[in-house]
């Protein structure tokens, strides 16, 4: 355990070296959230409700999803791709370290810096739209929401780890990764609540793990689902974590057999 903590600490120190870069990245993300906010406000116009969401709920949803994104986002697919292609993977697997948990440690440690910056920014946005932003006062619900976000982060990490394993089979992964992020974001409810989409789309979305990374936590926060459904949602998240973890281990071992350590 100590070694992963040490790894996280070192990785965190490393991330501090590139403070300015993180900051600028945050600003970019912020812009798209603002754009969506203005678009939806305009679309709502005089309407009270669209697809079960009031305007304040929609505004809160978009800001909330932006924040959640920060928390669950991960670059592990790029880490894997880079490690495999550069041969840096050899440096890691030659040591008594579990690559998967090493990457969990480095990914977690790179978040605090980003989170602080982005949290401030989103806080300002929430203030700007304060007339429409819903603040949830229930401590229990907030706790559940927080828990679902933690599970969501795990699910997202596993999905991206699996995606990164593709690097063992193909040399170039830009195409795969390029499609994946936007697509998975839509299906997760990243751009708009899933209920805004056609019924068939919704059916498919809920079969996939993505919906449980962004949509589900926000549903808890906005108190749009009952206690039973919350519980069920947690079960689904845990189910996905288990399945994806097993898949990751399997793919990892198979991929490693193909690894040639080139680049060295």
């Amino acid at each position: 355990m100590r070694k992963y903590w040490a790894l996280a600490k070192t990785s965190f120190q490393n991330s501090l070296v590139y403070r300015a870069d993180s900051f600028l990245w945050g600003i970019g993300e912020l812009v798209s959230t603002l754009v969506f906010l203005f678009i939806w406000i305009k679309i709502f116009g005089e309407k009270q409700v669209i697809a079960g969401f009031t305007l304040p709920e929609t505004v809160t949803y978009l800001i909330g999803v932006g924040l959640i994104d920060n928390f669950i986002d991960t670059w592990v697919s790029y880490d894997l791709e880079r490690d495999v292609q550069s041969g840096n993977l050899s440096n890691i697997i030659i040591r008594p370290v579990n690559y998967f948990f090493a990457r969990v440690a480095t990914n977690i440690s790179e978040k605090p810096l980003n989170l602080i910056i982005r949290f401030c920014v989103y806080f300002l946005i929430a203030l700007a739209f304060s007339s429409k932003f819903i603040v949830n006062q229930s401590l229990i619900l907030l706790l559940f929401c927080g828990l679902s976000i933690v599970f969501a982060a795990a699910v997202n990490f596993l999905i991206h780890f699996l995606l990164g394993c593709v690097a063992f089979w193909t040399v170039r992964t830009r195409g795969t990764f390029g499609i994946f992020r936007p697509l998975s974001s839509i299906v997760a409810g990243g751009y708009a609540p899933i209920s805004f989409f056609p019924p068939l789309f919704q059916k498919v979305a809920f079969l996939l793990p993505f919906a449980y990374t962004r949509y589900f936590p926000m549903l808890i926060y906005l108190q749009k689902i009952s206690g039973g459904e919350v519980f069920k949602g947690f079960l689904v998240q845990l189910f996905w974590i288990a399945i994806l973890y097993l898949m990751s281990r399997h793919l990892w071992h198979r991929g490693l057999k193909r690894y040639e350590g080139v680049g060295i």
């Binding site: 070296v17 030659i94 690894y259």
Partner: protein
């Protein structure tokens, strides 16, 4: 039990051939022809504790592939490998804690942080007790003279300094088996000597088993009593370095300094002339008649100095690589 035991190790890579040009690229999208590259083709050897063994061979011979199989990085196609009693591919932590792999130009240090941070991280990863860590660190940084650069960002160090830090990082956990891949590549002559001295000292002091690959005969001559020559995935020779000369050099060199002018045409009667610039001549004569030839020279020519030597190891190895007849 040998520290390293390799038996019928094979590592084949699957590579596909692409026809040149655009049509070739399109064709390879649809149908690909794969063929096997036999990087390591049925090799076997044992190494005992404390040995310092050199793997030499032309580029692409299979040296680095062998090292990677021994350290657990590559999954063998077939064969048996045992290092310290473990199967390297299993990569069990007790195994990994006792080995170290240093590849010439590959960095394991964190680029933007001082070397010190990477060392501390390694201490945690290898679970080295604090006291032992400090002692080893002090010894190594003394030997390599890098105490004053530990707090400098690795990015800002020169290649030589970086390599020294890489070595320290690789040795902090006092590995019993050390794999070195091209350890002196890219270093200047002074650093090369320092590196070789260090490796030799390390081998003696800690009785670590060291396997190294190198293109530089200097590395091999200085460090390795035993060499394994690999070519095209097969072992051509496994034994003492000195014996290669005896086994493969079928000739000796006679270096002569003449005190007076001589008729060059007469020299051919003695043997093949390898080098001629008066007053010095170097002959290459078959081993069996070397002393006879020398006697002839002394009798028939005005010789100021005469020297019989073995041909340089580099020449012999080059001949071995280029597949000269080794009967």
């Amino acid at each position: 039990m040998s520290i390293v035991d390799v038996s019928h190790l094979k590592k084949y890579y699957q590579v596909h051939k692409k026809e040149p040009g655009l049509i070739g690229s399109l064709r390879s999208l649809v149908k690909r022809k794969y063929f096997d590259v036999k990087a390591v083709d049925n090799i076997s050897f044992q190494i005992e504790e404390g040995e310092l063994v050199g793997f030499i061979g032309p580029n692409g011979a299979g040296k680095t592939t062998t090292l990677k199989c021994l350290s657990g990085l590559l999954y063998p196609t077939s064969g048996f490998v045992s290092v310290l009693g473990f199967n390297p591919w299993d990569r069990k932590p007790p195994f990994l804690k006792q080995i170290s792999l240093v590849m010439g130009q590959k960095n394991q240090l964190w680029w933007d942080l001082p070397a010190q941070e990477s060392f501390i991280l390694n201490r945690e990863i290898y679970e080295i007790p604090q006291e032992k860590y400090q002692k080893t660190l002090d010894e190594l940084t003394d030997l390599l003279e890098i105490k004053d650069i530990l707090k400098v960002q690795v990015r800002k160090l020169s290649l030589g300094q970086r390599m020294k830090c890489e070595l320290v990082a690789a040795l902090l956990h006092s590995p019993k088996v050390l794999f070195l891949d091209e350890p002196t590549i890219g270093l200047d002559v002074v650093m090369q000597k320092k590196m070789r001295d260090f490796i030799k000292a390390y081998n003696r002091k800690y009785r670590a088993t060291i396997l190294l690959t190198s293109h530089y005969m200097g590395d091999v001559k200085e460090l390795c009593e035993r060499v394994i020559i690999i070519d095209k995935g097969k072992i051509i020779y496994d034994g003492k370095l000195g014996k290669i000369v005896e086994k493969y050099a079928d000739h000796k060199e006679i270096s002569v300094l003449f005190s007076q002018e001589i008729d060059p045409k007469k020299l051919i009667k003695i043997g093949a002339v390898k080098f001629y610039e008066f007053p010095r001549v170097v002959f290459s004569v078959p081993r069996s008649v070397a002393s006879l030839a020398a006697a002839e020279l002394l009798r028939k020519f005005p010789v100021a100095d005469l020297d019989i030597t073995e041909p340089p190891i580099e020449d012999i190895i080059r001949e071995v690589f280029t597949g000269k007849d080794l009967a």
